[in-house]
């Protein structure tokens, strides 16, 4: 179980780094906001944030004197990534909608609360769950902020993939773009599902370090990595299968 979790962790880190670098190179060329936001999300959230969080809180890989600083770097990175996902979603799917701007602001406030709570925590010990008001702020700020950002992205991309599917019989859809949106939906839903999982465990007062929860969380991490990889690096075989799909 632990080996599978570590393999999933490595797969997620690798996918986030490669996709983030690729989107960063694209953003450098186009100077457009969507690819810049996505590059930030993959590099800050998937690679730097998630990687350093697991290294400190699960693996205990950092020297004790550095643990808290690295933990804070991971929290700030993950908050930045979730904010970038929210900005991307608003810019791409709801550029003129005021409620979407309000939602981006609310997500930003939740994430800022999580960062402030995390900064106020006592030094991190691997395997020890922090308690107290600061711990509550840190947990709920980050969980609600990241969960809302990723689930919103999943909902918008899933809805749009459905619209493109309806356009296909009229010759107006692009099956590769439709597939990328659907995979993006799966990847973001899996990422948001991790937040839901831990929020549920906290509300039900379950052990957040149990093997079952870790296994479920690892499954979601792997699903998110696989969907993102397939969306941005579709194998030729998959692309050939896609274009053979019937139009209705």
């Amino acid at each position: 179980m632990q080996i599978a979790a570590q393999l999933g962790f490595l797969a997620f880190l690798t996918a986030s780094l490669v996709i983030g670098v690729r989107l960063g190179l694209l953003a450098r060329r186009t100077r457009e906001l969507p690819e810049t936001a996505m590059a930030v999300a993959f590099l800050c959230g998937g690679f730097l944030g998630y990687g350093s969080l697991v290294a400190v809180t699960v693996l205990g890989a950092a020297p004790p004197a550095w643990r808290h600083a690295i933990y804070l770097v991971s929290v700030v990175s993950m908050a930045t990534a979730a904010a970038a996902v929210a900005v991307f979603t608003r810019r791409v799917f709801r550029p003129d909608a005021r409620p979407a701007a309000v939602l981006v602001g609310a997500i930003g406030c939740a994430l800022a609360t999580g960062v402030v709570g995390s900064a106020a925590l006592p030094p991190i010990e691997p395997g020890v769950r922090p308690t107290g008001a600061a711990a509550g702020l840190a947990f709920w700020g980050m969980t609600l902020g990241t969960g809302a950002a990723y689930l919103w992205a999943a909902a918008e991309s899933g809805r749009y993939a459905g619209l493109l599917r309806r356009r296909r019989p009229l010759g107006l859809g692009d099956v590769r773009v439709e597939s990328r949106l659907a995979l993006w939906c799966v990847g973001e839903a899996a990422a948001g599902g991790i937040s839901l999982l831990y929020a549920g465990a906290r509300l039900l007062e379950l052990d957040q370090r149990s093997a079952e929860l870790s296994a479920l969380s690892s499954l979601l991490v792997v699903a998110s990595a696989a969907a993102s990889w397939l969306a941005f690096f579709p194998p030729a075989l998959y692309e050939r299968w896609l274009v053979r799909q019937p139009s209705a």
Binding site: L23, L26, T30, E32, P34, E35, M38, V92, F93, P95, D96, Y160, G162, L163, L164, R165, R166, R167, L170, G171, L172, G173, D174, R176, V177, R180, L181, W184, A231, F232, P234
Partner: protein
């Protein structure tokens, strides 16, 4: 609503009311239903997409509402929509544009 999408939608509704003999409210509802069936939105539809809707979706919608000779009505509206293309401003990147670019296709 972008200027070009707004004018495509509004022109289609006005022309449908004029050429199809529907009242304004019915014309707008009919166009919205046809767009919805095609997976399109009045806020972002382009003239090219609207022409496809007029060719493949709208005739059946008009026939269901008892509009005589729906094919001719739709062709007349499509011709009016085509004229908008010349002065229509290019809308900002659509969702498809962004996701096509992100995948490098």
């Amino acid at each position: 609503m972008s200027a070009s999408a707004a004018s495509v939608f509004e022109t289609t509704c006005e022309e449908l009311a004029r050429q199809g003999g529907l009242d304004g409210l019915s014309a707008r509802g009919t166009v919205r239903l046809a767009l919805k069936a095609a997976g399109l939105d009045a806020r972002s539809v382009t003239s090219g997409q609207m022409r496809v809707v007029l060719e493949k979706v709208m005739p059946a919608e008009l026939a269901a509402r008892g509009v005589p000779d729906p094919g001719t009505v739709c062709r007349g509206i499509a011709a009016r929509i085509s004229a908008l293309e010349a002065d229509g401003a290019r809308p900002r990147s659509s969702v498809e544009d962004v996701f096509r670019r992100l995948g490098g296709v």
